[in-house]
């Protein structure tokens, strides 16, 4: 394993996080089983006190998870010189099959932790802990995901082998691996054994069942990202752009309607989540092109570098914040009927809506500003 300081830091943080979450879930289980608000017994009081600890732990976990995500990408980026053919984090993450799953799991866990904190906040506004069970069941679901993430991250770093000279008699001159970084730079679909037929069919009319099957295979063989890139690059930029603007408009329309009138809440939540997913694809498809001013550079990670003014951080932070808050609005919706929450929940949802709209505005604003102000055009707009 490459013993780089960044890697040590990441492993340490993951270790802490896993420990904290497992510790919390253990108590979460106990709370689910023994909670009885009406009783004044010592045990109940102890459980109530314990909930404070768990909330604090989850709040820290979220902070660490955010930091860990960015540190992970940054560390991967700083390792790129050790691997032939890897030009940035995108290539390094593809070095072994665990790289991208770790990355995606980190994002998922970040969003889940954010959602948990939203639910926790809502629960605390009511005087009878109406969401207690659901909250801790969610925690028990998050726990194995965090453990998986830590394990896969460890495997990722363990499997890494730098292309370095290890013997005084030998040398390497290994050709660049035909890997993803080449993919992200060029537009030709990757030609792996599995996806060849898929690449062929994508040039004509892809069958959905083919796509789904290939995706599942891809996840298991670590070729998932190659697959996604293939699909992304096969899609026409105009289509993705249209999707981007459409979901943006829908999100804002339903969001404003919800904020002012209290209607269309569920639609808003759905629209904001869809916008998030389409934005992810858009970053790969055209947004990155405008920032790099190159028709072939699609890497989502280079935006985080100094050359581009660290704009990636603002973009991704606002996008994630918007996604979590938008999702939160939808998640809380079923509980609006509970009497103890009827006063406080709508206010919370409105605040989340506002947060979502503001952060998405920031994201879309930066993107559109860039697209409008740069000389570079894709011949589209």
């Amino acid at each position: 394993m490459i013993l780089q300081p960044g890697i040590i830091a990441l492993l340490l943080v993951s270790l802490f996080m896993t420990g904290m979450i497992l510790y919390s879930s253990f108590f979460g289980l106990r709370i689910i089983r023994r909670w009885d608000l009406q009783s004044g017994s010592e045990e109940q009081l102890a459980l109530e006190r314990r909930t404070y600890l768990i909330s604090t732990i989850l709040a820290y976990a979220l902070v660490f998870q955010i930091g860990s995500l960015f540190l992970f990408v940054y560390t991967a980026d700083s390792l790129h010189r050790l691997f032939v053919g890897a030009m940035c984090a995108a290539g390094v993450l593809n070095i072994d099959p665990y790289g991208y799953p770790t990355f995606l799991l980190k994002i998922l866990n970040l969003m889940l932790a954010g959602l948990w904190l939203i639910i926790n906040y809502a629960d605390n506004q009511a005087y009878d802990y109406p969401l207690l069970r659901k909250k801790y069941i969610l925690l028990i679901i998050i726990a194995p995901l965090i453990v998986t993430e830590s394990v896969i991250q460890l495997l990722y770093f363990l499997e890494m082998k730098a292309d370095v000279i290890t013997s005084c008699c030998g040398s390497l001159f290994s050709p660049p691996r035909g890997n993803l970084s080449a993919e992200i730079v060029s537009i030709t679909p990757v030609q792996t054994a599995m996806t060849e037929s898929l690449a062929q069919s994508l040039k004509t009319t892809p069958k959905t069942s083919d796509l789904i099957l290939a995706c599942c295979e891809g996840i298991f063989t670590g070729e998932a990202l190659a697959l996604i890139m293939t699909i992304v690059t096969a899609l026409r930029v105009q289509t993705v752009m249209a999707g981007f603007y459409l979901t943006l408009a829908m999100t804002f329309a339903s969001g404003i309607a919800y904020y002012i009138k209290g209607k269309l809440g569920l639609l808003f939540s759905f629209a904001s989540t869809t916008f998030f997913l389409i934005s992810c694809v858009s970053v790969l498809s055209f947004i990155s092109l405008y920032f790099y001013e190159l028709p072939t550079h699609r890497c989502p990670f280079c935006l985080l570098q100094k050359e581009y003014g660290y704009v990636g951080y603002i973009l991704y932070a606002s996008l994630l914040a918007g996604a979590v808050s938008g999702l939160g609005v939808g998640i809380l919706r079923p509980f609006a009927r509970l009497s103890s929450l009827s006063a406080s929940l709508p206010l919370l949802q409105k605040r989340l809506t506002l947060l979502c709209l503001v952060t998405y505005f920031l994201f879309a604003g930066l993107v559109i500003y860039r697209m409008a102000s740069t000389d570079f055009t894709l011949g589209v707009l």
Partner: protein, 235 residues
């Protein structure tokens, strides 16, 4: 107005040193009255006070609180099973405590001590400071806001404690053996202040075994406690 219904409080339940401090008390305490809880030590006065003040939760029984609601109508809240954060907020706004040991925070000034109850409510700092200063003025300590509490005399410390209790303008004052460390003159002064507070519309609940307290003229009701139960209840 505070209602207690069949309230019982036990400690160390299930263990060999189990004991019940309050044993089935049903009580209604009216607003704008001065009530004194009288009884020997071990009778459960302090426990009862902490139950009334929301600092402890009864093992059995219910406690309800009626306070002025937002629209003018009164709201009755059951505080027995309220989560701690709500209880603390109620405690903050409804009750002002004067402890037997006074319990001022050492190392910070008199003014800061008085300001402490207002911090959780998130009011503007300058407003809070002005109000605290005004309170110190009414208690005759306005000239020494930055004095350290360790250097105050017993009477002065008592007055700081009172000022602190009144910081959030609570409708109910709860005092536990307030005259324990005071001489007669100061004790009489204390009762006069309580009387003044009653005239302003406040309620006072005092636990004391000092005759100067429960024998004072302005007392509306004396409840005698023994072994965690009410023994006598006289106007």
């Amino acid at each position: 107005m505070i209602k207690l219904l069949n309230v019982r409080k036990g400690f160390n339940l299930g263990k060999p040193n189990e004991f019940t401090a309050v044993n089935g008390i049903t009580l209604t305490l009216e607003a704008n009255r001065i009530t004194v809880l009288k009884g020997p030590s071990g009778s459960g006065k302090t426990t009862l006070l902490s139950l009334i003040g929301g600092m402890a939760r009864p093992t059995v029984g219910r406690i309800t609180l009626r306070r002025a609601g937002k629209n003018g109508a009164d709201a009755e809240i059951e505080v027995t099973s309220l989560p701690e954060r709500f209880l603390a907020e109620i405690r903050c706004r409804t009750f002002g405590f004067i402890f037997q040991q006074l319990n001022l925070v050492k190392g910070i000034s008199v003014l800061e001590n008085v300001m402490l109850p207002a911090y959780p409510l998130g009011e503007n700092n300058r407003v809070v400071r002005a109000r605290a200063q005004a309170l110190l003025d009414t208690f005759g300590l306005g000239d020494r806001p930055s004095a350290k509490v360790e250097w105050l005399s017993g009477g002065e410390a008592q007055r700081v404690a009172m000022a602190r209790a009144l910081m959030n303008d609570p409708p109910v004052i709860i005092a536990d053996e307030p005259t324990a460390h005071l001489d007669s003159k100061l004790s009489v002064e204390f009762m006069e202040i309580i009387s003044r507070l009653k005239d302003e519309g406040k309620t006072a609940i005092i636990a004391s075994h000092d005759p100067l307290v429960f024998g004072a003229g302005m007392i509306d009701r004396v409840i005698s406690l023994r072994d965690g139960m009410i023994e006598g209840d006289a106007p």
